[in-house]
Amino acid sequence: MATSFAGVPIFYYEALASILFFIGLTGAIARRNPLVMLMSIELMFNAANLAFIVFARAWLNNAGQIFAFLVITVAAAEAAIALAIVVVVFRFAQQVDVDEVRVLHG
Amino acid sequence: MPVVKVLTDGIGEVDLTDIAIYRQRDGYRQWERAVRELKSSEVLEMADRSGLRGRGGAGFPTGKKWSFLPAGDKPRYLVCNCDEAEPGTFKDHMLLERAPHLVLEGILLGAYGIGSHHAFIYIRGEFKRGYEIFSRALEEARAAGFVGKNLFGTGYDLEVTIHRGAGAYICGEETALLNSLEGKRGEPRLKPPFPAIAGLYGMPTVVNNVETLAYLVSILRNGPEWFAAVGTERSKGYKIISISGHVRKPGNYEVPLGTTVRELIEIAGGLREGRTLRAVQPGGGSSACIFEEHLDLPYDYESMAKAGSMLGSGAFVVFDDTTDFVKCAFNLVRFFAHESCGQCTPCREGGHWLETVLHRFVEGRGLESDLAMMRRVSSTITGLNLCALGDSIEPFLKSVLQRFPEQFEARVLREVASA
């Protein structure tokens, strides 16, 4: 396994991916705007994808790329559904504050 | 010849302006008799029985007119209308100048008849000589005790006031005369109320013509039956006719009513040599013409009305075949338009309009359409007016338009020179 590509050590990429992931995580936790939350989640997906691709490159095995592709696909589906939910919630409650929308709290 | 002398008795023979001469001829006898012996209602009754009709033009029965005065203690006035201005009339003029005492006696009798204590005589402004003569006569009568307070010792007061007009034809109309007498603008009043109810100064008033009043003297002298025996059934008594125009001897002729038109022309000397009669205007400027076919009609109120004209004030004007009827019509219309008081629209504007148009005809600048227009306008304005002046415009114009259209058509401008 190559430890560096074009002079960049692989763990740099790993670190980058993890930083991006945690930025996304923080956003997903801290923001109340569902759109921004979703985008943060996308950020986390991408961080994971980056890691996949880095490892695929490292092992020269495109299974990682395939996985990343599937992630992108599923992310698209997820985003579509999530946004649909946001729109429906907005129509229903006239607001999108996730803390205020608690109809399903039981 | 049926010429009589009732009012004209003595005129042209003796100086009747002299009270002494007048009294010699029984002057003021009837007046004294009336005041001393008769009640005023008896005088009224005699006037009524005589069938005397107003000689001023309208021919209204005098007794009936007097009887319209309402009972009551309001002062009453008698006004003698001596504003003779109808074209063709000159009888009152003559009476005033030649027999002033007769006129005055008539006024006094009339005033007594209606129970008035104040009589007025309204003398036309142009009758300067007549006014002077009558004034002198009045002074003489006053001096003789026929006018003034406590007449003949009976306690009856009667004052006579002379008023001179200022030369307006319309003041011959009784209400205009009253206005003029009051010092107002001489224009007819709106009737009702009639003068018998509210006349001079708002008091019951009778306005009578000079001739009418003058006949009272002879009626009282000879009795009403004497008067009623003459004339036709409804036009009784005598009348002075002022005959003028194309006759040899124009002048005033006193005749019984009912004399035929032909006789009247004969009385006045007949037509000039070689001339033929074209028309006669039997009742002054405001009457329509009568023609050859009417020559044998009796000259009285009814017959003249039947012939489409009227007897009016007895101004009998004769036209022979030299007459230019366009000029005649223009002359008469101009007179009426000029004399219109201007109060009411049809007379004021219609008269002036017709005058303008007729003037064009006289100058030979008539229009074809004017003939129909004149007929339409003149006939429509008749009957729309406050007084009779406006209605006087039509009759003569209409009758000559109808009878002699060729004279008018000859003055129509057929071609306009293309300038």
């Binding site: - | 603008r185 709106l190 338009a337 008269g351 339409r376």
Partner: protein, 761 residues
């Protein structure tokens, strides 16, 4: 109207197939109106009666051979009338054709075009064409009849309405018909300018555009005008009037047809023509504050704040005795009510409307209506007659005189009226002059001398006689102000309240330095008060003087704060006229920008003072109640109203008398340039004896010198009717204020300049 007519008085007839039942003696024109069937008329006028001149009102009466004129045909039982039909239409068309024969068709030029009876009837009944081929007659146009009226002779249809108005209604007989036939024309009989107090009515009567008002000539077309019906507030009669406005300018005023109760369908020239002030250049449009001797413009908020601050300071320092309010004659009832109420809310009782010479406006319980006046058998005036004070009331007097009433003037110093009159030296003589059979007597007082009024009342009161009293005051809504409680001793509805100081008292207090804030609402005491010198001194002594005005009047010039107020045409409300009728006024146009009505001004002050104001509905209710309240317990010449003015000491010289003139006054009258020619010159009238003694002839210029002042450059007039020992001047002239000298004081004549000498020089 008061009682249903008995059946015997009624006549049944048929008009155009419609059965009508009317009073006996009714004319066909009027009867046809009942079934809404128009009979065209020119010469006929409901108030003038028939004249039978125009001949356009033709109708067909069954059984009569000729067409009858509807205007002079009284109804008869069983009469069958047709106002339409071939012969009627033919006759009318002929008359209209004839009317148009010499009528110029300059309708586009003519002011009447659009509201012209001739236009209307020609359209409705005319032929539409004429056979006229000749040129129309040419007559003078724009003939100057007088200071108010221009005649177009070509347009005249000789209906003589104007002539008959002048004869029958105004009684002046100035207008006559001159010449005859188609040349006849309207003119003044003497050739002098047509001039009296009612000239304007002829322009309204004129069915065509022959008589036009100089103020309205070519100003507008009738269809452009916005019409508002309101009540005139120029004098205390309160005539109903139509105000025609265009481009934010009052262009003309017209009387209201059918207003029998108040104006009798007429207007006086003052009410009609004094409207040009609305957009006069001298109008104040912003609050002005005196700062270092000159006025500076300030905003309304500041004005209210400064005013309120001054009042608060005065209240805190010296209590409610130190503030006072004056005025009310120009205010509407609502404004007067709000003013009185606001003042009393502050605890202030120094409030009075009597800033002029008039002392009282409510005649007490014996007050009659204007219609009553018309029916009186005798009319007695004490003090000044209503001829100049309340001109339209004077028309009622004239009407009564025409109907046979005896008109008696007590110790009058005015020019003799053109109607039959009896001048008597004192009240007792007046009582004696009343015919024995007269049961209704009207007593008219100018509101000045209470003692005289009481004496007259006592002298004329008699068993079996109805005595009706009137006070023809000088201020428009004086009676309203009284009813609303703008009096020191009474509140709204004549309820007795704590007694404060009246006008004289306020002046005295001011001179003593006891008044800190004096607010004057629409009054001009500096010019109009009887004792001018004293009043001016008092106003100067006030610490903070507020004046609401339209113009910089004599009083406003002395103020600390001048507030621009809306004029009578710019506000709605109600007024009470001298007969006690409550009349609405309506705003005909909006006031100029920056100008508030007195109502808004009082309300703004109250808000700045944080006084609780009643809401609009309550004001309305209270105003109506107060205006309708019967003046119970108020006597004619009441002593409470009498005031404290003293008779000036006797001395040498002539006694000064002050009279009113309809067009003499400050403010709106002085600032209307359209009526400049109608304003009187300052004059002094002498009796013949005095004039001869002093060597004065009519037309000379003289000065009058009295205690405390001088009146300069008065035009002398020798008046036969005056008693020796008196000199009469006109009140309220800004050029020569009569109140420079105390009324009834003794004056000397000085500096006589002869007219001929002046001409030579």
């Amino acid at each position: 109207m008061s009682s249903a007519p008995a059946t015997s008085d009624l006549v049944n007839l048929t008009i155009d197939g419609v059965p009508v039942q009317v009073r006996k003696g009714t004319l066909l024109v009027e009867a046809a109106k009942l079934i809404k069937q128009e009979i065209p008329v020119y010469c006929y006028h409901t108030k003038l009666g028939p004249a039978g001149l125009c001949r356009v009102c033709l109708v067909e009466v069954e059984g009569m051979p000729k067409l009858q004129i509807g205007c002079n045909t009284p109804v008869a039982e069983g009469m069958v009338v047709r106002t339409r039909g071939e012969s009627v239409e033919k006759g009318r068309a002929m008359v209209l054709e004839l009317l148009l024969v010499n009528h110029p068709l300059d309708c586009p030029i003519c002011d009447k075009g659009g509201e012209c009876d001739l236009q209307d009837y020609a359209m409705a009944y005319g032929r539409g064409s004429s056979d006229l081929a000749d040129p129309k007659t040419s007559k003078p146009k724009a003939v100057d009849l007088g200071p108010t009226i221009v005649l177009d002779e070509e347009r005249c249809v000789v209906c003589q309405r104007c002539v008959r108005f002048d004869d029958l209604i105004a009684g002046e007989r100035q207008l006559v018909l001159k010449d005859r036939g188609h040349r006849d024309m309207i003119a003044t009989a003497t050739g002098d300018p047509y001039r009296h107090n009612f000239t304007g009515n002829v322009t309204e009567l004129c069915p065509v555009g022959a008589l036009t008002s100089k103020t309205y000539r070519f100003k507008s077309r009738p269809w452009d005008l916005k019409r508002t019906e309101t009540s005139c507030t120029q004098c205390s009669v309160g005539c109903r009037m139509n105000v025609d406005v265009r481009r934010e300018t009052v262009l003309r005023t017209m009387s209201v047809e059918g207003d029998d109760a108040v104006s009798d369908w007429w207007l006086c020239d003052r009410g009609r023509y004094n409207v040009g002030y609305v957009d006069a250049p001298g109008r104040i449009t912003q609050p002005l504050l005196r700062r270092d001797g000159t006025f500076v413009q300030i905003g309304w908020d500041d004005a209210f704040a400064i005013w309120a601050k001054a009042i608060r300071a005065a209240l805190d320092a010296r209590g409610p005795e130190s503030i006072a309010a004056l005025g009310g004659g120009r205010l509407t009832n609502e404004e007067a009510y709000l003013l009185a109420r606001s003042m009393r809310e502050l605890g202030a009782k120094n409030i009075d409307w009597r800033t002029g010479r008039q002392r009282q406006a409510t005649p007490g319980s014996s007050g009659g209506t204007l219609l009553d006046l018309e029916r009186a058998g005798a009319i007695v005036t004490v003090g000044e007659s209503p001829a100049q004070l309340a001109p339209v009331m004077d028309l009622r007097v004239r009407k009564a005189v025409r109907h046979g009433a005896r008109y008696i003037r007590v110790a009058s110093h005015e020019a003799p009226p053109t109607m039959r009159h009896h001048d008597v030296p004192d009240v007792a003589a007046a009582a004696a002059a009343i015919p024995a059979n007269v049961t209704r007597v009207a007593l008219i007082w100018d509101g000045v001398d209470s003692t005289l009024a009481r004496a007259a009342f006592a002298a004329l009161e008699r068993d079996g006689r109805t005595l009706l009293t009137y006070i023809s005051g000088e201020q428009g809504n004086a009676r309203g102000a009284e009813a609303m409680g703008v009096l020191p001793f009474s509140g709204p509805g004549y309820h007795v309240a704590d007694t404060g100081r009246d006008f004289d008292g306020i002046c005295a207090d001011a001179l003593a330095g006891k008044i800190d804030v004096l607010s004057i609402f629409g009054a001009n005491p500096a010019l109009n008060a009887a004792d001018g010198a004293r009043v001016r001194g008092a106003l100067q002594a006030v610490g903070f003087l507020v004046v609401t005005e339209l113009f910089m009047t004599e009083t406003a010039k002395m103020a600390t704060l001048v507030l621009p107020a809306a004029g009578a045409f710019e506000k709605s409300g109600s007024i009470v006229n001298l007969a006690g009728d409550v009349l609405p006024t309506a705003a005909a146009l909006a006031p100029p920008g920056g100008v508030l009505s007195d109502f808004e001004i009082v309300a703004g002050l109250a808000r700045a003072l944080e006084i609780a104001l009643p809401d609009t509905e309550e004001i309305e209710r209270a105003t109506i109640a107060a205006a309708a309240a019967l003046p119970v317990g108020i006597a004619f010449g009441d002593e409470r109203f009498a005031g404290t003015a003293k008779e000036p000491a006797l001395g040498d010289g002539l006694r000064l008398r002050v009279t009113h003139h309809a067009f003499a006054g400050g403010g709106t009258l002085a600032n209307d340039e359209r009526i400049a020619t109608l304003r009187p010159l300052p004059e002094a009238a002498f009796s013949r004896a005095d004039a001869e003694r002093l060597g004065i002839r009519t037309g000379d210029y003289v000065d009058l010198v009295g205690p405390g002042g001088t009146m300069h450059d008065l035009l002398a007039e020798v008046r036969e009717s005056l008693a020796p020992g008196e000199v009469v001047t006109i009140a309220g002239l800004a050029d020569a204020p009569a109140n420079a000298l105390a009324e009834r004081s003794r004056v000397r004549v000085e500096n006589v300049r002869h007219a001929d000498a002046l001409v030579e020089a």
